[in-house]
């Protein structure tokens, strides 16, 4: 048995090397002083980190990415919190269908969603590209917001709400003063998860670009097609640091069980 465990441990080590090795390699190459990505790098320099700030489009698209994620997040919360509340609080006919519709953006292929948004939002409805980006990102954030907030509502003791109501508080007042504060951590976690989902999105954003309008991942894709220098490796390192910070925040707020539950 001991022998078998060792084999299993070795196999797991191999799996983790496969998973994390590429991320380590890309991090190391970001310090390459030369013009071509190499592993191992031939020296050590922050040159390409500085280059990020010299290529104007990276800063521009980073700003757009952040703004689109935050604006979309806000709308997703405004649409999603009431829906999550209704779905966990009320029993009504067609509840299953409503629930399925709210979660459906996860199931529809992102690239299909992006294409239909381009075809109808931009071309037929004649909305500007910024609106398309904003709407598209809101759509993909909505299911995550609803899922996370529904699960924190399911942990909420609704008798507290009933107590507030029976003591004379109005429905709306109760919601804002009693329910919302109690699911605060769930809301913050939902915002972070939705942010990551939107910030990393390619499938929808790739259709929503115009003169001077793009998101950071799309700008990175475009850059890679023309240059193979370590700039993208440097951006990758910064993005991984951001990801690690957000991951620890999610872990703090929801625990690891958020990830292992399906």
């Amino acid at each position: 048995m001991q022998e078998k465990n060792k084999i299993l441990a070795l196999f797991t080590l191999f799996v983790f090397t496969f998973l994390l090795g590429p991320l380590v390699i890309i991090s190391v190459t970001s310090f390459e002083p030369g013009n071509v990505l190499k592993f191992p790098p031939e020296g050590f320099s922050f040159k390409w980190y500085l280059n990020i700030f010299e290529v104007q489009m990276f800063l521009e698209t980073f700003k757009i990415s952040i703004l689109v994620s935050l604006a979309g997040n806000l709308l997703a919360l405004v649409l999603g919190i009431p829906a999550a509340y209704a779905l966990s609080r009320a029993d009504f006919r067609g509840k299953e269908i409503v629930n399925a519709v709210f979660l459906s953006p996860i199931l529809i292929p992102g690239i299909v969603l992006g294409f239909t948004l381009l075809k109808y939002i931009i071309v037929t409805y004649q909305l500007p590209i910024y609106a398309g980006l904003f709407i598209g990102h809101t759509i993909i954030m909505l299911p995550f917001v609803i899922r996370v907030i529904s699960s924190s509502l399911s942990n909420f003791d609704f008798s507290i709400e009933e107590a507030a109501l029976s003591l004379g508080a109005g429905r709306l007042e109760t919601f804002f003063k009693v329910v919302l504060p109690n699911i605060k951590t769930g809301i913050i976690a939902a915002v972070i998860i939705a942010f990551l989902e939107s910030f990393n999105n390619v499938d929808i954003s790739v259709f929503m670009t115009g003169p001077g309008i793009s998101t950071l991942p799309i700008q990175m894709l475009t850059y890679v097609q023309y240059y193979f220098d370590p700039t993208i490796a440097s951006i990758s390192v910064l993005l991984m640091i951001l990801t690690a910070i957000l991951m620890f925040l999610i872990e703090r707020l929801l625990g690891l069980s958020y990830f292992t539950k399906r």
């Binding site: 048995m1 998973l19 390699i25 829906a83 948004l117 109808y120 990801t243």
Partner: protein
């Protein structure tokens, strides 16, 4: 809750999704059947009789299948090992699994370009130890796409399976062994069947994810097209929106067919009924 309150709560979200998602998708699907005003299957007939189009669909399905199988083969033993660890080590390994999952697909695909490229790490090693005279041309091939997709989805299947394996009652295993089953037999007859639903869910996630992934094939696949990059090419580069709509419809149908079939299979195979 009053009916009016209920409507006020769910209608804004439903309207938003209806206007910006459901209607555009329905119109896109609808448009594929009326190429010149009249109803016809002509577009689909063209798609499925064209060798090139068919080969793209076939390659994509093949890549997705290999990715799914590889993810299970690599992910199951790792998940089994993780699920049996003590709490401290388990948390560390889970965090190391989740980190790549949350990392941008652009970053992850790009890291494989560095490894698999003509002057990449893999070729440098192979050439320097004399295993190859010529550099391997893996990058921009379906193999590269598969490697990238396995890397993309392996964490997903690991955390899904850890979730399932953790919930298996280990008394069942001990009971099987005390009744005379060998360790292997107990594993095969007790653990494996209880994992089936989780395996099915994980497989759906990986297969559908691979079938519809765009970033990884766009970066690692080069001119080798899969269905999602083919859709993008037709919509943006070639401006053939009719063909793009047909591809979009095929992608939706295949995705939902797979989800439905696998869900049915999972229900049937679930020992708990």
């Amino acid at each position: 809750m009053k009916k009016r309150t209920l409507y006020l709560l769910i209608l804004p979200g439903l309207l938003f999704l209806t206007i910006f998602m459901i209607i555009p998708i329905a119109l896109t699907i609808g448009s594929t059947f009326v190429p010149e005003g009249g109803f016809s299957f002509q577009g689909y007939l063209q798609f499925f009789t064209d060798d090139y189009f068919r080969s793209i669909l076939f390659t994509t399905l093949q890549v997705s299948l290999v990715t799914t199988v590889a993810c299970i083969i690599l992910g199951f033993p790792a998940a089994y090992y993780i699920s049996k660890l003590g709490p401290r080590k388990k948390v560390i390994l889970l965090l190391l699994t989740i980190f790549p999952l949350l990392t941008s697909p652009v970053v992850r695909s790009f890291s494989w370009m560095v490894i698999l490229g003509k002057n990449g790490l893999l070729n440098n090693i192979l050439l320097s130890i004399g295993l190859r005279q010529e550099p391997l041309e893996i990058l921009y091939s379906p193999t590269a796409v598969m490697i990238g997709l396995i890397h993309l989805f392996l964490p997903l299947i690991i955390i899904t399976l850890v979730g399932v394996l953790e919930n298996i009652d280990h008394d069942l295993l001990r009971a099987a062994e005390s009744l005379g089953a060998s360790k292997v037999e107990a594993f095969r007859k007790v653990v494996l069947p209880l994992c089936v639903p989780g395996l099915m869910i994980g497989s759906i996630l990986v297969f559908v994810g691979s079938f519809t992934a765009y970033t990884t094939p766009a970066l690692l696949g080069g001119k080798q097209r899969v269905i999602s990059t083919f859709l993008y090419q037709n919509a943006i580069t070639l401006n053939d929106w009719y063909l793009a709509s047909i591809i979009a419809t095929i992608m939706i149908v295949v995705t939902f067919a797979i989800i439905t079939l696998m869900n049915k299979a999972a229900k049937k195979l679930n020992p708990k009924g």
